[in-house]
């Protein structure tokens, strides 16, 4: 795609080292995670998406160290949640665990951490803005922010978030439409996680059924149909899997060009089986 030729673009799909590879027991170092990340990068992923809260930044760091891929060829995202009271310190910790000098993208993980601790969103964003241009992060964004949260942020923000990472698949489309429009109007790139949720959690549901039949029509996997649907809505997917075949498959999502009628059908199927948005 032409955009790929421009500057330090954000490569997609991103490989999420997230809840699917969630550390259930924080004390144990999970070599499976290290292996998954290594395989992902070896098979073509260049964007790795992790977070403080998943407790596996060290595993990601170990994978990166092992692979010895030049730093500038990778795009690493992390997120701050529990550490929002002292963002510079949280950033230091993440960088140390990952074994990196800088993050390509750093996100405020969710508004609820701010509401819980009664810290204004603007304060968190200010801290992020102060870090920008100092060398430890190249871009700043948010995750799980809805229109009200973004509006609150924008009241005092110098610059808007580069990205907003949200749950995105046909079943949450109706509830996210106004958010998508808002982000588009502010030039905020929307990243979507849980793109394949309809397939994994509701394999008999209308979305999954339709995805499977479209998979036959286009001669691709049903996962790819949903990733292509996300892309058609202007959302960039964050995916995850531990299987190499799936990794190779997901990386080709941009080659699938869905017809408008099929895009609309998936949207409709999503509306039929509409779900509330997940909060982290």
């Amino acid at each position: 795609m032409l955009i790929a030729a421009l500057g330090p673009n954000i490569p997609f799909p991103a490989y999420g080292v997230g809840t699917a590879l969630y550390k259930k027991d924080n004390s144990k170092f999970q070599t499976e995670t290290v292996d998954s990340v290594k395989k992902a990068i070896e098979n073509g992923f260049t964007h790795i998406d992790c977070a403080e809260i998943y407790g596996n930044e060290e595993e990601v760091g170990a994978a990166l160290k092992d692979l010895k891929v030049p730093r500038e060829k990778l795009f690493i995202t992390s997120k701050v949640s529990r550490g929002i009271e002292d963002i510079p310190a949280a950033l230091s910790t993440s960088l140390k665990k990952l074994g990196l000098d800088y993050l390509d993208l750093y996100l405020l993980h969710a508004p609820r951490f701010f509401y819980e601790k009664k810290i204004p969103l603007s304060k968190g964003w200010e801290a992020m803005e102060t870090e920008l241009g100092q060398g430890r992060l190249h871009a700043i964004g948010v995750s799980n922010f809805y229109v009200e949260d973004l509006e609150k942020l924008m009241e005092t923000a110098k610059i808007p978030p580069r990205v907003n990472q949200i749950e995105f698949h046909p079943q949450v489309f109706t509830r996210s439409k106004s958010l998508l429009d808002y982000c588009r109007s502010k030039n905020i790139l929307v990243e979507g996680y849980s793109s394949l949720r309809p397939l994994t959690k509701e394999p008999e549901g209308p979305v999954s059924k339709l995805a499977k039949s479209l998979a036959e029509k286009y001669n691709v996997s049903d996962s790819l149909i949903l990733l292509a649907w996300s892309s058609s809505q202007g959302v960039a997917p964050v995916t995850t899997t531990s299987k190499v075949e799936r990794m190779k498959d997901y990386l080709t999502y941009k080659t699938v060009k869905l017809e408008q009628a099929d895009i609309d059908a998936l949207t409709e199927a999503g509306e039929e089986s509409s779900r509330p948005l997940l909060y982290l």
Partner: protein
């Protein structure tokens, strides 16, 4: 504008004997410059802007706005200011400006800085020791030096430039707007209280009655114009000589005919009642009724209508000669696009026109082609670029697809001198023109230490891009000048457009972008750029894919027609062109800006974006709108003195901070 050598100019018949001499020696000087500087490489990318102003004289009692002809006195005073403060380090002023967010504070700082920068800097450094720069010598950069002021063609015009170049780091872009604001403040301080410096392309009632202060009469023998008094020409001998020699060479007056805007009550056909058809002062007076003045058009018959316009020009210093040549080529297709979104000239000689820009009027104003040359020489010496000049392999020969006149003798001289074919052809094309002004005491020049003959021709070819070799005795390198943009009312806009073009040029080099397209298509774009409301009504040729595939061999490009919105803001399809604004934004991100810088520069990108989409009006549209909705407007295309006065008053308020959402949206803050 050009060089102001002192001395006695030869009259036209006398000077004709020396044309070949000037050409031959001009080429020798170019060869010498080329050999001396071809290996010159600069690490630092520098650039500067030139802004031109029209000094307006307001009479609130009469509700009259006129152009003030006091240029000589004003420039003398500004020259004294420059001399007085040339040793002051201005950087603490910019540090103070950086620290303030409120416009009142900014204004206060600019006022003090304009009045007495030496005292102000002393006080600032005392109160803020961190503002002091620790330099022994004052670095030669815009934020350290006193600005400079220059004369221009019109005796009501001023020009200002930063005293030294800007750098090209992101933080350097933050000085631009403040520097421009300071320049206007300094000018204002040296004007009388009823005078204001306006950055508008043209004075809307230039060439009507009672448009000058003091009063003058249009009966001068230099321009022989029906409308423009010779008094509006800068008194330095170069300017009237240029004017007269152009008229003499072409053996008739210049003639620019701009189609009139037909409104409800505009007489159709339109035969201009303000044209003195039967005047008989000069032999050229009959040009008009013999066909020079077209029906349904606004007829203009003097160089002043063109060179009396203001514009916004940028000069970039490239790293090397090759990089300068590449930039020249890559920015050429961009020139019509920036012209279109900076459009600011919907009215001429008191009438609304069916176009929004000044370009073709200036082209006509200095067009020295004789009647027979109109058949054999395709363009005026003021017009868009005719040849690409880079040796980059992507510069395919078929892109140079318009006929070009060259001087064969000069071409041979250049080739023999070791210049490559493309640059030789370019120079031979520049030198195909006659030198218009030759000073008798400047004919003998030492070609190894002087470049007067070269400059004589290079500076009187006014193209949309100009290629400038390094001057002698200076550290300045190979440069290109971007010349198509129209000037905007406010420093915010002028900074936005300037910084946008500079960042685009950096993006072009950084991402190795390829905007090459046939010159014939660029020329088509130049025509469309000047159309009334080009944003909504015209499409522009554009290369389908400007992203070079470094592995594949260069192939003939594909071109398509896009709207300005699509070109600047992207095609909104998955594989479509992402838009020039997105390209610049990407470049901005590669520099890892901090939040302040990003926020500051983003205002500029948003303005450019909104002008291209039509969300914000171009100045031409805004002016047109003001005129046509004015309560005294009679729907007859006439810009009356009262409308003119109110319009200028409103522009002055906007310059002084009054908001206007239709013009700026929420970008100017």
């Amino acid at each position: 504008m050009g060089l102001l050598v002192l001395g006695t100019p030869l009259d036209w018949p006398e000077s004709e004997k020396f044309h070949d001499y000037v050409r031959e020696n001009g080429i020798k000087q170019f060869l010498h410059m080329y050999d001396s500087f071809i290996s010159k490489k600069q690490d630092i990318l520098l650039w500067g802007d030139e802004i031109e102003y029209i000094v307006v004289s307001m009479n609130n009692d009469q509700k009259a706005a006129r152009v003030s002809l006091r240029q000589e006195q004003i420039l003398k005073a500004l020259g004294d200011y420059e001399e007085r403060f040339k040793h002051v380090d201005f950087s603490p002023i910019y540090a103070a400006l950086k620290n303030t967010n409120c416009s009142k504070q900014t204004d206060a700082i600019l006022n003090e800085a304009a009045a007495n920068p030496a005292k102000f800097v002393e006080r600032l450094v005392k109160e803020n020791p961190s503002f002091a720069s620790n330099n022994e010598d004052i670095p030669f950069r815009a934020q350290f030096t006193v600005p400079t002021f220059h004369p221009e063609y019109g005796r009501y015009m001023l020009e200002s430039t930063p005293g030294a170049p800007y750098g090209s780091l992101l933080k350097d872009f933050l000085y631009v707007e403040h520097n421009m604001l300071l320049r206007r403040k300094i000018i204002e301080n040296h004007l009388l209280s009823h005078e204001h410096p306006l950055t508008i392309t043209n004075f809307f009632r230039l060439g009507t009655t009672h448009f000058t202060d003091p009063e003058t009469k249009a009966n001068g023998h230099i321009s022989r114009s029906f409308f423009l008094p010779d008094d509006i020409i800068n008194t330095h001998v170069r300017f009237p000589t240029l004017t007269a020699n152009i008229r003499q060479r072409r053996q008739r007056k210049v003639a620019m005919n701009v189609p009139i805007f037909f409104d409800k009550n505009t007489p159709k056909p339109f035969r201009d009642p303000t044209v003195p058809w039967d005047r008989d002062l000069y032999p050229e007076d009959k040009n008009a009724k013999e066909g020079a003045a077209l029906e349904d058009h606004i007829y203009m018959d003097s160089m002043g209508f063109g060179m009396g316009c203001c514009c916004l020009q940028l000069t970039f210093q490239a790293k090397s000669c090759d990089e300068a040549r590449l930039l020249y080529d890559q920015l050429t297709p961009i020139t019509p696009l920036m012209l279109a979104i900076s459009a600011g000239t919907p009215a001429f000689r008191g009438y609304l026109a069916e176009q929004d820009c000044r370009w073709n009027v200036i082209a006509g104003a200095v067009d020295d082609r004789t009647k027979s040359e109109m058949e054999t020489v395709p363009k005026s010496r003021y017009d868009s670029v005719d040849l690409y000049i880079s040796n980059d392999p992507r510069n395919l020969p078929e892109y140079n697809d318009v006929p070009v006149v060259t001087n064969e003798g000069c071409y041979e001289q250049l080739i023999k001198g070791g210049i490559d074919e493309r640059l030789s052809r370019h120079m031979a094309h520049i030198f195909a023109r006659d030198p218009l002004v030759i000073f008798s005491d400047n004919i003998q020049q030492d070609n190894s230490t002087s470049n007067g003959h070269f400059e004589n021709l290079n500076s009187t070819n006014w193209q949309s891009m100009r290629f400038k070799p390094p001057p002698l005795n200076s550290s300045i390198g190979w440069r290109v000048e971007f010349r198509s943009m129209e000037i905007q009312f406010t420093e915010f806009e002028n900074a936005a457009y300037s910084v946008f073009v500079v960042m685009l040029s950096r993006a072009i080099l950084s991402f190795n972008l390829d905007f090459y397209m046939p010159i014939s298509l660029v020329d088509k774009n130049m025509v469309n750029a000047q159309a009334r409301d080009a944003i909504h009504r015209k499409k522009f040729w554009f290369r389908c894919n400007p992203f070079s595939d470094t592995e594949a061999p260069p192939e003939r490009g594909q071109f398509k027609q896009l709207t300005l919105d699509q070109i600047f803001n992207g095609e909104q399809t998955e594989d479509g062109f992402p838009g020039l604004v997105q390209i610049v934004r990407s470049y901005l991100y590669t520099c890892n800006p901090d939040a302040e810088t990003l926020c500051s520069l983003d205002r500029y990108l948003r303005l450019v974006s909104k002008r291209a989409s039509g969300e914000c009006l171009t100045e031409a549209s805004w002016i047109r709108n003001f005129i046509t909705t004015h309560p005294l407007y009679k729907q007859d295309s006439v810009v009356s003195p009262e409308i003119n006065f109110d319009l200028i008053k409103r522009i002055t308020s906007i310059i002084n901070g009054e908001s206007d959402e239709s013009l700026f949206g929420d970008c100017r803050c």
